[in-house]
Amino acid sequence: MSRSKKILLVVAVLLALVGAARLNSQSYAAEDKFLVGWIYIGHVGDAGWTYAHDLGRQYVEQQLPWVESIYVEAVPETSDAERMMTELARKGCKIIFATSFGYMDYVQNVARRFPNVLFEHCSGFKTADNAATYFGRIYEPRYLSGIVAGSMTKSNVIGYVAAFPIPEVVRGINAFTLGVRSVNPNAKVKVVWTNTWYDPATEKEAAKAALDAGADVIAQHQDTPAPMQAAAERGKLGVSYNSVMTQFAPDTIVTGPIWNWGPYYVERIKAAKEGTWKTGDYWGGMADGIVDLAPFGPMVPENVKKLVEAKKADIVAGKFHPFTGPINDNTGKLRVPEGTIMTDAELLSFDWFVEGVEGTLPN
């Protein structure tokens, strides 16, 4: 680079600095508003994970007129995440929701630096005085969706397109499989890993691979409706995830576990405003309404609906826990004795498959 070009660039940068510094000094929120920030891993239009969180954010705006919300999307779990949370805090956010597991260490870093700002980290396990974690027992509706899939499969092979072999996903696969086998002990769940949360093309390919292997129902732990579309193209059935995906494949989707973050967000923001917010590690289930089951598709028979509704009532009432022994792992070894319920600690570090799952886990 020539010397004059360098000088030119330096001058341009300095000018920009001076001009921009003044722009930046003004406060972001209107005086009387309570500013709340969200940081998303994906795009708000992904129809999946981030979309579900953003529905929660919109719910907050609707319910709490004194809240002003801001968000940043598509923030990778790198150095960028720490900066964007810092930016949100600096803009005056009183509470910040970090909605991806990989933000964990960065949440802790920023929380240390902004002791007066509250942080909520979704799906992580590190807390601080001003940083809580929250998550939902999505395995409950997953178990129920497994009942539907197990009742409706004809080939007794169900494909499961899954992102990464982490406890959250493994837990979901296991709950689903237990649901399947509760009504159909001969059915098998074939897992196909994609190594990505968000990649329509890869997810679709993975679903096709499962279909090619004989699956006639596709379940997913992915953030786009692509696996559902793959099933639709072959005229097979699907169990969606994250949000109500019916519009993407109306004749395909039987049901699916969904997130309902709104009420939790409203409650926590209210607490923050009123000064009653306390740190903690929230893990709510269907009883709290943070997780639920999407409406049944038209192809689901009445008797199946009834069975699922009954199980749901039991779960909500605390009469039934999906991970109640006896549970064998997929080598046939008894892992959970008759009558024992797995502890939360065990569920949170799941690293084995239950009987009926065909797939591998890295060791």
Binding site: M1, S2, S4, K5, K6, L8, L9, A12, V13, A16, L17, G19, A20, A21, L23, N24, Y28, H43, V44, G45, I70, Y71, V72, E73, A74, V75, P76, E77, T78, S79, D80, E82, R83, M84, T86, E87, R90, K91, F101, G102, D105, R113, F125, F164, P165, I166, P167, N195, L348, S349, F350, D351, P362, N363
Partner: protein
Amino acid sequence: MKLVFEKRDPVPMSYRVVSPVLAVLLAFLLGTVFLTASGFSPMKVYAAMFSGAFGDWYGISETIVTAIPLMLCGLAVALSAKMLLWNVGAEGQFHMGAWGAAAVALSMPDAPAWQVLPLMVLAGVAAGAAWALLAAVPRAFVGVSETITTLMLNYVAIYWIEYLVHGPWRDPKSLNFPLSAPFSDAARLPMFGYTRIHWGLIFAIVAAIAIDLALGRTKWGYEVKIIGESPRAARYAGMSIERNIIITMAISGALAGLAGMAEVSAIAGRMTRQLSPGYGYSAIIVAWLGKLNPYGVLLVSILFGGLLVGGYSAQFLGVSAASVNMLQGLMLFCVLATEALGRYKVRLVPTGAKGASQGGHGEGEAEANG
């Protein structure tokens, strides 16, 4: 009438000054059309981007934090490109460097900083260099295109990291999440003051100075220069092209590896799947825009870092991440296009008149060779 492209030789000084200004103006112009069409106020968006990246000390510090891996990877790409070697594998070398450093940090959790940090640097540099050598050796001795091998090795490196954090390196205390155990505090590269600017910046600056001196003042640098300009002349002058390919690629890989070491040690503090949002690939553009000059690379890294950092700030105005990416792409495209076009003069000429002048050129050669 037809369009004729004539090569400017040499590119006039005036154009070299005007071209970046022109590029930026063009980018802003196109961006304005795009933003207005999407219903945003372009001036506000630009102001937000600038202020996000350079608007205050925090923004500047974060821009530099983003620029550090770009600097080291950019230097890596630039150095090899000096010899016409296309190292598109900085991303993989970055990951391997992070791996080497993490291996040291995890295996000596109780060692003091003065022991563990130098070893981490050493391991990161060695791992990055070794990864580059996997491509350099076949290139030097069999002529296998390093562009393809370095690119393929990126995937291998990234999957290797994935395997480790899902498998052997997984921290049982992290509830089986794909994370290694956190490094000890001693294994964290120090940061400056309250910012996240870390020692990687010093590494990058020292590396740039060293490269500049080595290229300009040493016999090795001289050989690199000649080989880059004319491999035939270099061979004629008795230089070993094979040896220089090996050396240059090893240093290139070492620099990218150092970037990975700095990032994992200073920023991440443990091995994770997501260390880089593609620094190694952005580095190719950085090296190119920096004209392969070490100081140019440093400067362009900061501007590029600013573009990345500022992009997020535009989101606060409601511009979607996708639109921001599009805007960033537009700016880079304009800069690159102006750069390339700057070497040509474009003229409209009547059809038929061009034969004579071109023929005159070809003739001299035809006569000499025929």
